[in-house]
């Protein structure tokens, strides 16, 4: 145990040194979203600047801190000053930003988000008082964007692996008691009490037990697990150690999507680091506890989020679910008791063990305790990764945190392809497992996709059914054939070829699939249909009876039109039109030949963003 102690002492010193560094420190948000927004180019240009000016400074690549719409985020920490964060920093801004600090010795004012100091700093706002962050409670995300995820010392310095050490000095049943009292429920979607699953697994007699961390984040529109692993991989590994110790597993797997290369890389390096610290292997820290972790890359199948399908794919088979019972906790991987927990569930554990059950359960509602991360995306002003106490209302999340929709809020979609769209009447509904379930949706893993008035509910529902149809493993008829028919009927409606009786057909079929499908994928696949029909029936009817898509989305039910009064005849749309549907001489309003138009949107976008006058082309409902 000595080595871990010395390493931690060293880590604390290094971390404090970084906070009070005599050299400037530059932090760049370099998670997947930061990189997509151009963080790599920003790092290059920061390095170039520092080299050119011969300035000695440290550059730290940190994970995602949450407000992805502000990426790339660059923080500057000058000696003696707090860390100050800047948003949307492009290579073009870097020169000016750094000149201000290094040449003029002034705080740069543009692009400023806020500072990380405890007290005020030159009138700058505090970072965590930003409207997107102010109402959040960051427990599982506490280190994301703060520490260098590839440096285990940072994690150690912030009480890392202390919770696991504490567990080793306790009986497994006492650890279980803490988790039970904390009220933690599975964060993967179903919300099953974590402790109960552990206990079943522990009480099943077996020589071997397995723990699987489910990082096969398949829900389209959700990226919480990716961000957590990229930003703080050790939190997940420590959670795995705690879970394995409590339920008696000797071997762990992280089942992670191959589409997340950065997360895989971070996990791999983190596993090597914990091995070096003696936190994996035989007789960990002098105890009798043995544990090892391997990574299994998922090969791309949504159904593998289902526990039995996930197990089949680790065994090298087609990822098809089987009937339950026996549940994996009794008979799982290679026939042994297997516990499958979501990334977020595991990442939360160290916080609960360190701070106690009571502390954790102060957040949340009576039945849904603690906090939950969500990927807040879609049609709203502020998008990104958030963590809020369960029970917060939809309104607070969408308006206070997300800033609302520019074009007017229509609905929020929760639970991905297994969930549903909840409209305005749900704005004051608290977000917890029970309430969302009662509304016909589910909590799911945490995707919150906001839809505005320009989003069509029929189209969105069709999207989900096409998705589940494509991802259905084909084993059971209700799901394989049923989802195909649901998708076909929705396609017909979106083309304006639906009949009123189709709505009854949809409902009947949806209920049949729900009752008859083998696994969670099939049983929940009809949820988007049922909720949309319940809350947005009028929108379906206008597609059917008026042949009209009110949101002007369904391609067969919209037309493009040039407003002749606005068109200056700049010819940009003529050039971009792939079918020659737009004609007209320069400086005169152009003509659009509807018979040639394929509604590809090219002219519409060029007119809005690139034309001389702009906004002369509109997309309107009606064929």
């Amino acid at each position: 145990m000595k080595t871990l102690e010395t390493q931690r002492a060293h880590a604390v010193q290094a971390w404090n040194g970084l906070q009070n560094s005599a050299r400037p420190v530059v932090y760049v948000g370099a998670g997947s979203c930061g990189l997509a927004a151009g963080a790599a180019e920003v790092v290059d240009s920061v390095e170039g600047y520092l080299a050119k000016k011969r300035i000695g400074a440290d550059i730290l690549k940190v994970g995602c801190i949450g407000p992805c719409y502000l990426e790339p985020l660059v923080d500057v920490q000058m000696p003696g000053n707090p860390r100050i964060s800047y948003s949307n920093v492009t290579p073009g801004v870097v020169g000016e930003l750094f000149d201000s600090f290094f040449e003029k010795g002034e705080m740069f004012r543009r692009h400023l988000v806020g500072h990380f100091g405890k007290n005020g700093f030159r009138g700058a706002p505090k970072f965590f008082e930003h409207p997107m962050l102010e109402r959040q409670v960051r427990i599982v995300l506490r280190n994301c964007g703060i520490i260098d995820p590839e440096n285990v010392d940072h994690y150690l310095a912030l009480d890392g692996y202390k919770a696991f050490e504490k567990c080793l000095s306790m009986r497994w049943s006492d650890v279980l008691e803490i988790v039970k009292n904390s009220g933690l429920r599975g964060r993967g979607g179903a919300g099953f009490p974590t402790w109960r699953k552990w206990l079943v697994c522990r009480e099943t007699k077996s020589d071997t037990r397995y723990l699987i961390c489910n990082a096969d984040e398949g829900d389209p529109g959700a990226f919480m697990n990716r961000s957590l692993i990229e930003g703080d991989p050790h939190a997940v590994l420590e959670g795995m150690l705690i879970a394995a110790y409590t339920m008696g597993a000797s071997k762990g797997f992280v089942y992670i999507r191959a589409e997340y290369p950065l997360a895989i890389k971070r996990l791999k390096s983190a596993i090597v680091q914990v091995q070096e610290l003696g936190l994996l292997g035989r007789g960990i820290l002098g105890s009798e506890f043995d544990f090892d972790i391997s990574i299994k890359e998922g090969a791309g199948a949504f159904v593998c989020g289902e526990e039995t399908a996930l197990i089949a794919s680790i065994e090298g088979k087609r990822g098809m679910p089987r009937t339950r019972p026996p549940f994996p906790a009794v008979e799982g991987l290679w026939g042994k008791p297997t516990l499958i927990n979501n990334v977020e569930t595991l990442g939360t554990l160290p916080n609960i063990i360190r701070n106690g059950a009571e502390w954790y359960s102060q957040y949340g509602t009576e039945t849904s305790k603690g906090t939950k991360t969500f990927s807040l995306v879609g049609k709203l002003r502020r998008t990104g990764l958030i963590e809020v106490p369960l029970g917060m209302t939809v309104r607070s999340v969408v308006y206070d945190i997300g800033g609302g929709s520019i074009k007017g809020f229509k609905a929020v979609q929760t639970g991905g392809p297994s969930g549903g769209c909840l409209g305005e009447e749900f704005l004051d509904t608290p977000i917890d497992y029970e309430t969302l379930g009662a509304a016909g949706s589910i909590m799911g893993s945490g995707g919150l996709i906001v839809l505005d008035r320009n989003t069509c509910i029929v189209d969105t529902t069709k999207y989900f059914l096409n998705f589940t149809q494509a991802e259905s493993c084909g084993k059971c008829v209700p799901c394989r054939v049923g989802t195909r028919h649901l998708a076909n009927i929705l396609e017909r409606i979106s083309q304006g070829k639906g009949e009123v009786v189709d709505l009854a057909r949809l409902e009947r079929l949806a209920l049949a699939i729900k009752g008859g499908a083998l696994c969670g994928l099939g049983q929940s696949a009809p949820n988007p249909v049922l909720t949309s029909l319940k809350y947005f029936r009028d929108e379906f009817l206008s597609h059917i009876t008026d042949k009209r898509c009110p949101a002007a989305v369904c391609r067969d039910l919209v037309h493009y039109r040039i407003i002749t009064d606005k068109c200056t005849g700049c010819q940009r749309c003529v050039k971009v039109c792939p079918t020659g549907a737009i004609t007209g001489p320069r400086s005169e309003p152009h003509n659009l030949d509807m018979s040639k138009c394929i509604k590809c949107r090219s002219c519409y976008e060029i007119c809005r963003f690139d034309a001389i006058a702009g906004d002369a082309i509109v997309i309107e409902p009606g064929a």
Binding site: S32, A36, G218, P220, A299, G300, G316, L376, V377, E471
Partner: protein, 155 residues
Amino acid sequence: MPCDPFAEAVKGFEGDLADLIPVLQRVQGAYGYLSPDALRRISRWLRMSENEIFGVATFFAQFRFSQPGEHVIKVCLGTACHVKGGEQILDVLKRRLDVEPGESTADGRYQLERVACLGCCALAPVLAIDEKVYADTSVLRVHQMLEERENREDA
């Protein structure tokens, strides 16, 4: 002696059934796709029928059975990308490259893929060319991106 990529790919595995998917992943990593010949070799190595291996490989979206184009363009059609117009971005690429998703262009330069989610939902709609992810794309930007690439090649 030139090294055999197949032997490299199966190095360190014991030949259990559980090794099948990781081996398929590594073989595809080495050759770019799973050729009939590669599947035959895996079958002999694992002592498992080609039929069964093909059954597992075709189940998962990751595996390809034909030579991919030089650059892979992945259009994200996760929920956030869908509601922000990802479908139309895919259409533009389909038309301009004259391919369907899963196919490569006649000159072998590009491979078009539609993917369920790249996990950059807050910056939707996104697409990736090889490993680089592009945020906040649009029909217009796709036109520009392709033209820039063409111009660069001409130059």
